[in-house]
């Protein structure tokens, strides 16, 4: 199979016998071996496991057994997901002392049950407290469109591996934007589902009340297939909703006609680069979305997300900060320590605001089905870049890459980040839907993909 085959094309070829799962994974492993020394997307390649799994799929086909919708599709996961036999690093040095996971996280098991083949674990920002994809222990993930530039994070390897053609599908996590930011900077489709939709069991946590997990891919169809395969309740994650599987695939080709789509104004236009504005305008025009809508108190929502992240993250890591502070990335350590010092009264205020904000935003969805907003304020910055200019003011880069994603994930809304293939670098647009309406966001993303307004560009070789 060619480098840029989608998951759907691979699964179809494997099911029809036009390709074997073994040759597909061997080709993927060869690409990883060739490209990973530069892209630094993989921290571990699960070669033997992948070969064994592929052989089992081929054997099942010979026996006439039904193959799943992801038969033979190589995928990889951010290294915060438990993978049997591997330490769950979560991008840290400290977790290298943990014992290896004894079983896979449920999302890996569900993707493999659908026929997918795990190829390895992916680089990420330490403990997911990151928007850059840089990692002081493992080195930075590099953006396949320009390897001097960052992938975005914290799911940096999840972006680099898919944009670089190493695998067609990856899993990431998104607390404040960590799926949507790398999707934007690497030119990929990324789905951050509704809070509680997909099980987070045996995925190393960061901020319990904000953590989400989801897929990144090069086509909307691939996102939908993977998302559908991963849905369903999981008693192992108390946050995972007790909802039946609500497949997105059946309505994926329904187009955007009849959907009420508005563009987020105010906060979501301030500070955006010309590229970010162009991307939103292009998408809005293609969808005939002329109405502008104000998301109330979005700046304060971002502030609330900041406080909740700082305090819950600090609480999670307090014992490690006491015992092993020197083993953290210093930038992350200092932010976590500051978070530990925030009085609880202020943290609870943020949680109260969150309730109010959610009610206000849900009212918007009585009038619209989806809201468009930039995914990042700019295209991929250079690795090591410390500041960016927003509205003529120089600001610290790290926190501000999540400027437009944080107010959305604060209230758990489902989002598909779609890539707009600008030159020289792509940039993403968020399609935000009402809770549990991932299908609406995916359907709009697919309509844009069909018009070639949104597509995952291939990097120059």
């Amino acid at each position: 199979m060619q480098t840029w085959a989608t998951a759907a094309e691979i699964a179809s070829a494997v099911a029809n016998g036009r390709a074997s799962a073994l040759e597909v994974i061997e080709a993927a492993l060869a690409r990883i071996e060739q490209k990973n020394p530069v892209l630094n997307a993989f921290t571990t390649v699960t070669k033997e496991r992948a070969l064994a799994r592929a052989r089992a799929i081929d054997a099942a086909r010979v026996k006439g057994e039904a193959l799943g919708p992801l038969a033979g599709v190589p995928f990889a996961v951010k290294n915060l997901f438990d993978v049997a036999g591997l330490q769950t690093l979560a991008g840290s040095k400290i977790n290298r002392d943990r014992s290896a996971a004894t079983s896979d996280s449920p999302l890996i098991a569900r993707l493999e049950a659908a026929g997918a083949v795990l190829a390895g674990a992916l680089n990420m920002g330490e403990f997911a407290y990151d928007f850059t994809g840089e990692n002081v222990h493992d080195g930075p993930s590099r953006n396949p469109h320009d390897t001097n530039r960052m992938t975005g994070g914290s799911s940096g390897g999840s972006g680099g591996a898919v944009a670089g053609g190493l695998v067609p599908l990856s899993l990431g996590s998104d607390t404040n934007g960590s799926i949507r930011v790398p999707s934007s900077l690497c030119g990929l489709f990324g789905l951050k589902p509704t809070y509680g939709r997909l099980s987070r069991a045996r995925a190393f946590p960061f901020v319990a009340s904000l953590d989400h997990v989801g897929p990144i891919g090069r086509s909307v169809h691939d996102l939908a297939v993977a998302y559908d395969a991963m849905q369903g309740p999981d008693p192992e994650d108390p946050v995972c909703a007790d909802r039946p599987v609500e497949p997105s695939l059946p309505g994926l080709e329904d187009g955007s006609k009849g959907l009420r789509i508005a563009v987020a104004g105010g906060y979501f236009k301030r500070g955006a680069s010309a590229e970010a504005i162009t991307a939103v305008d292009t998408v809005a025009k293609a969808l005939g979305a002329r109405e502008e809508i104000e998301v109330p108190e979005a700046a304060r929502a971002r502030a609330a997300a900041y406080i909740i992240t700082a305090t819950e993250g600090a609480s999670l890591h307090l014992d490690r900060l006491r015992a092993r502070a020197q083993d953290f990335d210093p930038a992350i350590r200092d932010r976590l320590i500051a978070g530990a010092m925030v009085p609880a009264a202020l943290a609870v205020k943020a949680q109260k605001f969150r309730r109010w904000y959610r009610e206000q935003v849900l009212r918007l969805f009585e009038k619209v089905d989806a809201i468009l907003a930039p995914a990042t304020p700019c295209t991929a910055p250079l690795i090591g870049q410390q500041t960016l200019v927003l509205d003529g003011v120089e600001m610290p880069l790290r926190p501000n890459l999540g400027l437009y994603t944080q107010p959305i994930s604060l209230i758990g809304l489902p989002v598909v980040a779609v890539p707009v293939p600008l030159t020289p670098l792509p940039i993403g647009v968020q399609i935000v839907a009402a809770p549990w309406r991932e299908d609406v966001a995916l359907r709009i993303a697919r309509a844009l993909e069909k018009q070639a307004v949104a597509l995952a560009p291939r990097p120059m070789e």
Partner: protein
């Protein structure tokens, strides 16, 4: 920040170090201070927003 505010924040960090039993290296203090200043600015923006007493916090959040 005024000199007085700087001193108050420095004292706050020293007190928090004890209260949290979280030993700090002196070299980290400038970055912790800078982070804390940003965090308190965000916290103030949230705290100044008036909400009814009855507003339920959302620590266990449902979408």
């Amino acid at each position: 920040m005024s000199e007085e505010q700087d001193k108050a924040l420095s004292n706050f960090i020293k007190a928090a170090e004890v209260a949290l039993d979280l030993p700090l290296d002196a070299a980290w203090i400038p970055a912790i201070t800078a982070n804390l200043q940003v965090t308190f600015r965000h916290a103030a923006a949230v705290a100044e927003f008036e909400l009814p007493d009855e507003t339920e916090p959302a620590p266990v959040f449902e979408a």
